[in-house]
Symmetry: C2
Subunit: 592 residues, 2 copies
């Protein structure tokens, strides 16, 4: 395309309230324009970027064996009532919903489990029809309380969603595995630095759900990740592994600790570190107390405890309950004389397993024990549970080899094994080989397609602007006549533009009558991978000045870099074609 | 694709309430499935059909110089209040609208004039930026009172809409002309028999609006069309031309017509035809009477009269008013002694101009005049107006050469010259060469993309099923092994499938283990242009049986047709390739 025909062009001023480079650069570059909170216009240029993401997603979906369908955007309430999600979404306030002229209720699709399960119910009747995975790419809607960060958390966005239908659990896992592999290829081809965060590493051959996260400090989510095996999750999900060398047992002793209650106070009062202590907490889960013991340097994860108990809410118990349960004021609880004696449910975190000679409260005011050993000083628990928040520095429970690191990320995709929840609720069954009606085994799989565009910019930018990866670049090459009124330069630029375009490259011709400085600044802000300047080198030797946008990764065999300027090379047109074809080849090899 | 992987397959029963072949065949073939009134799932097969229509629309939009953008689906009420369309759409009941969690109001886009005019207002600031035409293809919504005929009148549908912005009226007309040419190419390439219906043929170089209608007896609209110049419209829009040979004037005479009041009664009572009479009608326009005289065989068009008067409502006046205005009971009105004497506004239809020696009422009970001549017996009107309904048989007012025909049609597209209505209302201005702020001169242009799919089926079908035109066919070729368990046939079919697909054809392999009769019936219902059977001819001479779906148009140089069977030919694989390449060439030449 010609830049003169594209509107808007680059903007001079940063938008208000754009804390991340993604929003700032997409607005400055004229890729998106806000209509109202969380609702955006995608401009010609923005759409060209998203089309590349769409192409990659489409290719990988079709290659995975899934077939494309299209559910409507307006879903009748009746379908959502079958699964109970109507009330759930409406009470959460997250649903855009409306009534038609006759009073019938609809929700604007946030996802499409209900209509697609109904579609399966109508059309997949026998085990012979299965497995089937259907996918679609369409606008989705969420009435976010706080829309933010441009396309990252919008209220209207483009999502690719897919749904698999299988005869049994093994089938579901196979469909899930195929989609998982497709997701890995999609995010590789998009050029992301990403991690796959598994929710449940325990089960072999596939987990219950996994998130694909683009790593960027502008991510919404904090992640605890193993750099070796890539297992991880948020703090309330990832599980650490604990192992202690065996040492000679010390004697149990009482320690007077007058008004010394917290781990920090105990560290100051004794020569022990928090990791040599066991802290014991009383919590209030729904309407009952519960006790948890864990290593002193860790934090309780209310989410993990709630999942273990199947509780709706978990919070710290108040002082009166603590005293009722432990017989001592807050700050002096411990397992000795409590675990095995109390009727209150009592759980041990995995961090306690194998600890020796530790400090813990004595369940008496102003007294702690030291030299405590499990099994000798209180009964050995029959099991331990993962109940503490994962933090960096702990050992990965999956590979047991590396220690967790903390990163921030943007969720790009999410895959779930749904089992038979939706199909059972909707009586969506097929007839199996034995002639029995069985609810489908389902999976569901989502990719935030408009989000891909902005997550790419969050990852790939510098102080000059965007640095598009080759695969997603709306234009891979920009051709810039150095002097907009020089007819020779214009003619050469036009010819290059036509030839490169017909060779299959995505090419922008900056045909504006503007200063070269402004054109170069725009080309850097807009982030095209390769710039081709038609100027003085043409006069001298019919050559072009070729510049590479990505300062971080100059191809030293081709480019020279001096000072702060972009890596530059001088090429004859034929050399440029060969160089670009090699570049394309390289990227296609990276993205088979 | 392989048919085993596509769901649903053909259905055995006709859907309920499907009066047109389009809905019936699309449902039977498994292209669409209803979710609720006017809301449909588009299946894999239906989507493949629509993708072809989308491709053609996209190619022609880009070729026309328009650039693609994407407006959101949720439009804030504030934008629609700027043009007054918020109240208009809501009171018409046609808008799907909702409130978000904070109470802000939105409409689900039926069209996008408001956000795109706002986008222009923000980004097109100078005459240097113009002209610009933006287009998008996206879901649109109308809460139809009576959704019907499948994709023809749905409540959620895919529409291509485009909007042009120009510096002046000439520019607007040029943008309109470019889009009109693109529309003609789109509908030609889709294989439609269509007509372009102009709303206003009077102005040279472009009309105010035009509709593109697919001609089919299952169309919603009745059209009056000139077969020569293609001018036309509905009855309340198209204008006829009237011309009479000059003849010697007869004398004016009174005729006693006791209780003979209607044109039919007068035809029986005299030897004159209705076309030799002038009838005079008193109407009630808003709150005032008005008189119209027209030729006796025509019908008043209340719409045309309302447009002429700028009236909200026009209806026949009651007997009391007729008597007050004409001095006679109903059935005896006429221009003599009335036109020129009454203060009631009096209009003559163009059909009266040039009539001689006609019959009309005498404004006295039981009396008519015959041998009446304008200018001699009553004053000649200074002007005549188009006030009668157009019907077949009348002369076209545009080319004055042919007579109108009556047809039924489905609206495929609509183009409008919007002038400055939206831009003025929204203060959307640019700075012109003189430095003045001027509202944009706009046009808007729509194509019903999902509707194209069904309109195609309404036009192209027979008693066996759909007959897809080559350009829109989801699959151009189906390959059918005659015996699903014969490994030789399967191997040949698979190889053909791979080779034809990689040669760029859209190919379906019917790989089901089903009876050949069922496969052929399905192939005919589904309407693939070319069927390739791998069967006995392969055993005998390594040849294929090739059949053409369109019985109406067999290529006699290639195919033999016997009895009721499809036109058939026997070809070696190499001959099949050559034949298909020629066929593709032919269609590409038709659709350059």
């Amino acid at each position: 395309m010609k830049y003169s025909q594209i509107h808007p062009k680059t903007r001079r001023n940063d938008p208000k309230d754009a804390p991340s480079p993604g929003t700032r650069l997409l607005v400055r570059g004229g890729f998106i324009e806000q209509v109202t909170g969380g609702i955006w216009i995608t401009t010609t240029m923005g759409l060209l970027a998203r089309r590349q993401a769409e192409r990659i997603v489409r290719e990988e979906m079709n290659a995975s064996g899934a077939t494309e369908v299209e559910m409507p955007i307006l879903h009748p309430a009746e379908l959502w009532r079958e699964t109970g999600r109507w009330d759930k979404y409406l009470s959460a306030g997250i649903a855009f919903h409306l009534k038609d002229r006759k009073g019938a209720e609809f929700i604007l699709a946030p996802t499409a489990e209900e209509p697609i399960t109904s579609f399966a119910r109508n059309n997949l009747t026998s085990y012979n029809d299965l497995p089937v995975t259907w996918w679609q790419m369409s606008p989705k809607f969420r009435d976010e309380l706080r829309p933010r960060q441009g396309l990252i958390r919008g209220r209207e966005f483009v999502m690719k969603d897919a749904y698999s239908f299988d005869v049994d659990e093994d089938g579901m896992r196979a469909s899930y595995a195929a989609m998982r592999a497709a997701y890995q290829r999609v995010f590789q081809r998009c050029g992301f630095s990403f991690i796959e965060v598994e929710a449940d590493s325990g089960s072999i051959g596939g987990s219950g759900s996994a998130e694909f996260m683009a790593v960027t400090k502008y991510g919404e989510d904090t992640l605890i990740v193993c750099p070796t095996c890539h297992y991880g999750g948020n703090q309330e999900k990832a599980a650490a592994h604990f192992e202690y060398p065996e040492v000679p047992s010390q004697n149990l002793e009482e320690l007077e600790t007058p008004d010394v209650r917290t781990v920090e106070q105990l560290e100051a009062f004794t020569d022990l570190t928090a990791a040599q202590m066991v802290k014991t907490i009383v919590l209030w889960a729904d309407d009952k107390p519960v006790v948890v013991s864990m290593r002193g340097d860790l934090e309780i994860s209310e989410v993990k405890l709630a999942n273990l108990l199947g509780a709706e809410s978990v919070e710290t118990a108040d002082a009166r309950i603590v005293e009722e349960v432990t017989g001592a004021p807050v700050g002096f609880a411990g397992p000795i004389n409590l675990f095995g004696n109390t009727k209150v449910p009592y759980y041990f975190d995995v961090s306690v397993r194998g600890m020796q000679n530790f400090l813990c409260g004595a369940n008496r005011k102003d007294v702690h024990f030291i030299g405590v050993n499990t099994g000798r000083d209180f009964p050995a628990p029959s099991e331990f549970h993962d109940l503490s928040k994962a933090v960096q520095g702990l050992t990965c429970s999956n590979c047991k080899g590396s220690t967790f690191e903390e990163q921030r990320g943007i969720e790009l995709g999410h895959i779930f094994q749904l089992q038979q929840g939706y199909s059972s609720a909707m009586s969506a069954t097929f007839v199996d080989q034995a002639g029995e009606r069985v609810p489908f085994w389902m999976g569901c799989y989502g990719i935030g397609v408009s989000r891909i565009v902005q997550a790419t910019v969050e990852q790939h930018n510098d102080e000059r602007g965007i640095i598009w990866p080759w695969s997603l670049a709306p234009f891979q090459v920009v051709i810039i006549p150095v002097n907009g009124t020089n007819e020779t330069y214009q003619g050469v630029a036009e010819e290059l533009y036509r030839d490169l375009t017909s060779d299959g490259f995505r090419v922008l011709l900056d045909d504006r009558d503007a200063r070269i400085g402004a054109k170069l600044t725009d080309a850097e802000l807009l982030g095209w991978p390769i710039q081709v300047l038609v100027g003085r080198s043409w006069d001298n030797e019919e050559a072009l000045e070729v510049r590479q946008r990505d300062l971080r990764d100059p191809d030293v065999s081709v480019f020279n870099q001096e000072g702060s300027s972009l890596p530059t090379a001088t090429m004859k047109p034929q050399e440029l074609f060969e160089f670009l074809r090699q570049l394309r080849q390289k990227h296609e090899n990276l993205n088979p």
